[in-house]
C-alpha cells in the first residue's frame, strides 16, 4: 500500500504554481530546514482577491503536495476566504495524509496565512485593515512520539505509552520531544539551557 494518496502523488510530482512572484504583495515563510520542511508563499492581491499565489518548498513529498494544493485552493479567493483554509481542509483536499505528515498541512496553511498577514500589515496604515490569524482547532493538534510515531493520547503526559520513552513538551511549539534532545525536532527551538 503506498504511503501517499494518488492526489498527493499528483501534486508532488506535478506541483502547481511553483516559483516566486516579483514584487509580491505579501510573503509568508513557515517551518525551517532543521525540522525538515520550509515553505515560502508569495501572493499578489487585487481587489481583495488573491490574483496570484506562488510558492517554494524545501521538504518531503507531503510538504510539496501541501504547498501545491494550498496554492490552488487559495488562487482567486478573497483574503477572508483564503484565511479559512485550515490544515484539516488541506489534508481532506489531498484525500488524506499519513498521520505523521499532518504537520505539513499546518505549515502550508500557516505559510499562506502569513503571506496574507504580511500584505495586511503593509496596508494597515493606509487601509486600516486588521490581520486575522487562522487558529487551527484543538482537534487538529495530534501529538506523536518522536521515537515511535505512535499517537500520544494525553499530550500533557511526558511519557509515550508505546515505546516507554520519557518525553517533554517543547516550550516553543508545544509538541512532544525526547528529553534527551537539545533542539526540538519539530520547530528547531533550543530546548536545554
Amino acid at each position: 500500500m503506498p504511503v501517499y494518496s494518488e492526489k498527493v502523488m499528483d501534486h508532488f510530482t506535478n506541483p502547481r504554481n511553483v516559483g516566486e512572484i516579483e514584487n509580491p504583495d505579501g510573503i509568508g515563510e513557515e517551518g525551517n530546514p532543521v525540522c525538515g520542511d520550509m515553505m515560502t508563499f508569495y501572493i499578489k492581491v487585487k481587489d481583495n482577491r488573491l490574483e496570484d499565489v506562488k510558492f517554494k518548498t524545501f521538504g518531503c513529498g507531503a510538504a510539496i503536495a501541501v504547498s501545491s494544493i494550498v496554492s490552488e485552493m487559495a488562487m482567486g479567493k478573497t483574503l477572508e476566504e483564503a484565511q479559512k483554509i485550515t490544515p484539516s481542509l488541506v489534508a481532506e483536499e489531498l484525500d488524506g495524509l499519513p498521520k505523521n505528515k499532518l504537520h505539513c498541512s499546518n505549515l502550508g496553511a500557516q505559510a499562506l496565512n502569513m503571506a496574507i498577514q504580511d500584505y495586511l500589515n503593509k496596508g494597515e496604515k493606509t487601509k486600516g485593515k486588521k490581520a486575522v490569524t487562522t487558529e487551527s482547532k484543538p482537534g487538529d493538534q495530534h501529538c506523536y512520539c518522536p521515537y515511535c510515531d505512535e499517537e500520544i493520547m494525553d499530550a500533557a503526559a511526558p511519557y509515550c505509552q508505546a515505546c516507554k520513552i520519557t518525553l517533554s513538551l517543547c516550550p516553543e511549539c508545544d509538541k512532544a520531544v525526547s528529553s534527551d534532545d537539545k533542539t526540538c525536532p519539530n520547530c528547531g527551538a533550543d530546548i536545554k539551557g
Partner: protein
Amino acid sequence: MRKTYLDNASTTPLHPEVQKAMLPFMGDIFGNPSSLHQWGDGAREGIEAARAQVAQLIGADSEEIIFTASGTESNNMAVKGLAMAQPKKGKHVVVSAIEHFSVLHSARTLEKSGYELSEIPVDKYGSVDPEEVRKAIRDDTVLVSVMHANGEVGTIEPIGEIAQITREKGVIFHTDAVATAGTIPVNVKELGVDALSLAGNQFYGPKGVGALWVRKGVRIIPLLDGGIQEGGRRAGTENVPAIIGLGKAAELAKADIAARMEHLSPLRDRLLTELSAKIDHIVITGHPQNRLPGIASFCVEFIEGESMLMLLSIQGIAVSSGSACTSKALKASHVLLAMGISHELAQGSLLFSLGTDNTSQDIDYVLEELPPIVDRLRQMSPLYSKFIKEEKGDK
C-alpha cells in the same frame, strides 16, 4: 520500466537457493524440533545443520549460536542480557553514539532501570576512537557495545582494537555485526569480541530470523523465558523454515564473500565518484576508504531526502534516506547528527546500498536519473534560491 533495487541495507532479496532450502520446512518437515518423535527429528536435524552453517560463517562453535527472531532481538538480548548477568560487577554500560536503535534503546531501557550509560562520540567519518572506549570504561562497567560497521554510512569500526582494550580491562564486549556478517569476512576469534549479532535479511536470507553468538563461558540472561529451546537461552518454538534459510544464506555467503565484495566495491566507487562529479553541493558521508563494499551514502544540499526517494521510486529506483521526513518519528538520522552533520544537511541524506544483483547498468541508470531529480527539487527549494542569490551577491 527498469527496476533497480538499491536498498539492500533495508533488506536483501531472498536468494533462490535459500528459498529452495526453506520450502520443505514449510511443507512435509513441519515437526517441532523439541519433539522426540520422528517428526521432531527432521526439524531438529535441520536447525542443527543451520546452526553449524552460521557458526562456520563467523568462525564460531555451533553450540555458541542462539537463534533469534531478528537482529533487533539479538541486540536487545545482548545488551540487556549481558549487562544484567553481572549484577555484582556494576551497572555501567558503554555504547557508541551511532549504534542501531536496537542497541541504543536497549541501553536506554537499562538506564531507566538504574544503569548508567556512556555514549562514545564518533568523528566526522563515523569512526569510533578506541581510546574513547578506554576512557569510558570504569571499574563498574559491565558491557561495551560497538557496531562492526554502520549500514547507514558504511563506516567499518576498529573492533579488533577495541576488543584489545576490553580484554585488558576485563569488560564484556558485544558487537552488532548485522551490517557485516555475510557481507565482509567476520571471524569472532579474530575480532576478539565476546558476543556478536547478525541477521538473515542482510545477506540474502529470510526476514524474521537472526542469531546471537555468545562466547562459551560468558553468562547471559534470556530475554524470553519459557521452554528449554536454544539451550535455555531463548524460549519459544523455533521458526524452523527461517532458521533453515539463515543457515543456507550463511553457507552461500561463506563461499561467495570474496566474489561478492569484488563485485560490489567497483559499483560503489562509481556511484561515489561519478555522482559527486555530476551533482554540485553533494557530500559523501562515512569513511572514504574504510567502508562497506555496497554502501554509497550522500547528503545533497538544499533539498530533502524523502522527496528524492519518492521521485527515484517513480523511476523504478529504490533507495533509503536518513532525513527527518523519511523516518516515521520525523527525526533526522542520529548517525548523521553524531558525525557532526548539521540538521539541515542531514535532511538531504540519500543512501544507496548495493547487492549482488546490481550491475554497472544500474549505476548508469542512477547517474542518468538522479541529477535531473536534484535539479527539479532545487528549482522548488527556497534554500536553493537563497543560496543562488547570495552567491550572485558575492560576485
